[in-house]
Amino acid sequence: MALRSFALVLCLAPLAVATGAKADVTQGRALYIKVGCYQCHGTEGQGGVAGPRLAPAPMAWEAFAQYVHNTTDAMPPYRESVLPGTELKLIHDFLLSIPPPPNVDDIPLLRALKKRPAP
């Protein structure tokens, strides 16, 4: 998805922003989209078939930075030279700002599925 229109859609989405660091979180969210984290992990860090869930409650900052910059797992490393720690920290702050999702019981569609498969 193109970054500009993608960002526009995101602006319309309910943002879960910590009030004390709104600007940083907004910047972190923009970076998260710009450098392509969303491609595998989804725009809310929810994860999917291509990448695991990142939020809420991402891994601790030190471990996060170490992993992103140096991983040899399936995820390609985002090295310091292309994603400086300062920017990565903003992304981490954005992930930290994402609140927990609603419970299954709070979503009627999913609550109904607890009892029987659908359709």
Binding site: A2, L3, V9, Q39, D73, P76, I107
Partner: protein
């Protein structure tokens, strides 16, 4: 075959030549003449219309059967119900015989707007109905368009009969187009990925080769086949119909695995502490699912359905797809049923700067493979995957081998083995239920996000399908498998897997073909349609409308070739060259394509783009109402990447 005859007899080429000449004379301005008036097109004269639409008197006078009529008889003899085709002059006689001689029924001519769609439609149809239909195409330009889709069908072990128009005799070809539409060896470009082809030299030869082709296409491993229908053979009258015969078609009994090897496999499975069954293209017919259930229940062994067919009901407690990795790692015996990539099943491959591989299984783990592909490989195209050394290798059709294997397992189970199997069931029940509850929890993440999460898409769609006799006619791997995680797939026709060769352009046309096969059963065909795939051959939308094929298509519109975006990102990362330009060449945006407008332009009910998840459920209900009334609908939904 007749040659180019005297003026008294209006031969095929003479007729066309006259039409072409007449057209040229009336539509092209002579040198120095005034330019044509500015209008869309010069209207044809009465004589031109007659020449274009009516047979010349010499042809109309003959009620005699022509070769193409006999070819249609041959197709009818094996119950070819449809011909999917974009029209072409090299098989004009065949097309005319279908629509007039056969009355456009059995087979019925399905108008496709691209040969790739013709084959994909046939591919989808075959996977639901279990039998092939034919496609007609030019031997050159048509087959080149069709070739990728044939490759998909080949990789997906799907039967398709491709009939190619070709004008073999150079002395009889019309100058120009018939030379362009003829090849010495038409099937050469697809021979690496069709099972068999022939270029019959007589009508009797055609009958025998067509029945042989049909038989081969349906014999496991199933595959596409090609028959070349010579133009003159199609068009010339039949002088002695009584001398022609159509061979009786008798289905080939699929090959079963060797009895001794099956016993050895059963012995290993019965003695296993942690057996695992993996099925890929195992369920070849609707009976296949029940046969696999019987085997799994004889052992209470977990089943991992790689989902290129509807192998196993995901509602069954032994369905353990989500735990595939762990089960494979812990297994002591693995049974692979028509698994094309056994190496990939038991090994890990990491696509990072250092391409690393390692075994996922324990050194002592025994691997059993049953596949009809064991004795049937071709060399050029590499769809057979990396070689895997297994412990018991059984050449045979897995579905056909299942009854004997199940009986052998039951015989081989000792009291201790039965006790182990009984104990496994409870473990599987708990794991199955935990997986299901975890899927519901996972679906809550990004529930209200826009673009809409793929879990929300599947949940909302599943909700409107409640109580319907539905079938998903597209893969769901591009939406992170959410349909199979949330919906109950418990009927053998509810899933048909993927394109096979990962060739883009399969989706909508295969969905239309599958929907056509579901139509007589009154099933609701549902297609989760990716955006990039749709734009390869959107004309299949028109085919659905033209032939009144009910189909509900819901777009997974992430506005990108998203898989490729991730690959470019990977390369950029690997080279440390910046990571914010992976969208170049991979997005489908600026402008965003209006898929609803696209569908509407071809007469389909459509809405969208839907970006607010709250709008999705009501829109799906409206779309469903259209499909339930016999129509087709497309809902454009802007979604998360995966």
């Amino acid at each position: 075959m007749a040659g180019i005859k005297a003026k008294a007899s209006v031969g095929r080429r003479g007729f066309l030549g006259a039409v072409a000449t007449a057209g040229a004379a009336t539509t092209l301005p002579a040198t120095g003449a005034e330019p044509l008036p500015k209008r869309a097109a010069a209207l044809p004269t009465h004589q031109q219309l007659a020449a274009e639409t009516q047979p010349p008197k010499a042809m109309a006078a003959g009620a005699q059967q022509c070769g193409a009529d006999f070819m249609v008889d041959v197709m009818r003899s094996v119950n070819i119900d449809y011909v999917a085709s974009n029209p072409g002059s090299s098989f004009r006689a065949l097309q005319e015989s279908v629509i007039n001689y056969a009355g456009n029924t059995r087979p019925e001519f399905l108008t496709c707007l691209h040969e790739e769609s013709s084959v994909a439609l046939a591919h989808g149809y075959a996977k639901v109905s279990g039998k092939p239909i034919a496609i007609f195409a030019h031997s050159t330009v048509g087959l080149q368009h069709a070739s990728m889709a044939l490759y998909n069908a080949w990789c997906d072990r799907a039967p398709v009969i491709a009939v190619l128009g070709n004008i073999t005799d150079g002395a009889k070809r019309r100058p120009g187009v018939e030379w362009l539409h003829t090849a010495q060896d038409p099937a050469a470009i697809v021979r690496d990925f069709v099972k068999w082809d022939d270029q019959p030299g007589s009508l009797q030869h055609f009958a025998e080769s067509f029945v042989r082709a049909y038989k081969l296409s349906l014999s496991p491993p199933m595959a596409p086949v090609v028959i070349v229908a010579d133009g003159d053979l199609q068009e010339e009258p039949i002088h002695d119909r009584a001398s022609l015969s159509i061979p009786k078609y008798v289905a080939t009994a699929p090959p079963q695995g060797d009895a001794g090897a099956v016993r050895e496999a059963a012995r290993l499975l019965a003695a296993a502490e942690r057996p695992v069954i993996v099925a890929d293209r195992c369920a070849r017919t609707h009976e296949g699912m029940g046969l696999l259930v019987a085997l799994a229940e004889s052992l209470n062994a977990p089943v991992i359905d790689q989902a290129n067919r509807m192998n196993f009901p995901n509602t069954h407690p032994l369905s353990q797809n989500a735990r595939a990795r762990r089960l494979i790692e812990e297994a002591d015996v693995i049974l692979a049923l028509e698994v094309n990539d056994v190496w990939g099943l038991i090994n890990e491959y990491i696509d990072n700067e250092e391409r690393t591989t390692f075994s996922k299984i324990k050194p002592e783990t025994k691997v059993i493979s049953i596949t009809a592909m064991e004795t049937y490989l071709k060399s050029n195209y590499q769809d057979f995957q990396r070689f895997a050394a297994v412990d018991v290798s059984i050449a045979g059709d897995a579905q056909a081998t299942l009854p004997a294997l199940t009986e052998a397992v039951k015989r081989a189970l000792t009291a201790r083995g039965k006790s182990r199997a009984a104990a496994r069931l409870e473990e599987m029940r708990k794991a199955h239920e935990a997986t299901r509850q975890r899927a519901l929890t996972d679906a809550t993440y990004a529930w209200d996000a826009s673009p809409i999460s793929t879990a929300r898409l599947a949940a909302e769609l599943g909700d409107v399908l409640k109580g319907e006799d539905w079938a998903l006619v597209s893969p769901d791997n591009f939406i992170s498998g959410w349909a199979r995680r949330l919906w109950a797939f418990d009927k053998p026709y509810q899933y048909i897997g993927t394109a096979g060769g990962q060739g883009v352009g399969y989706g909508i046309a295969a969905a239309v073909g599958a929907a056509l096969a579901h139509k007589p059963h009154g099933r609701l065909a549902v297609n989760i349609q990716t955006d990039g795939d749709l734009m390869y051959a959107p004309g299949a939308i028109w085919t659905a409308m033209h032939h009144k094929i009910p189909l509900l298509s819901v777009m997974h519109n992430n506005r990108a070739y998203h898989q490729e975006t991730m690959h470019i990102q990977r390369m950029a990362n690997r080279r440390d060259r910046g990571i914010d330009r992976a969208h170049i060449g991979t997005i489908i945006d600026h402008p965003a394509i209006d898929y609803a407008m696209l569908a509407k332009s071809m007469g389909m009910w459509a809405e969208g783009p839907i970006t607010d998840p709250k709008d999705l459920g009501p829109a799906l209900k409206r779309a469903l109402a259209v499909v339930k009334s016999g129509g087709a609908a497309l809902l454009d939904v802007v979604t998360q990447p995966r």
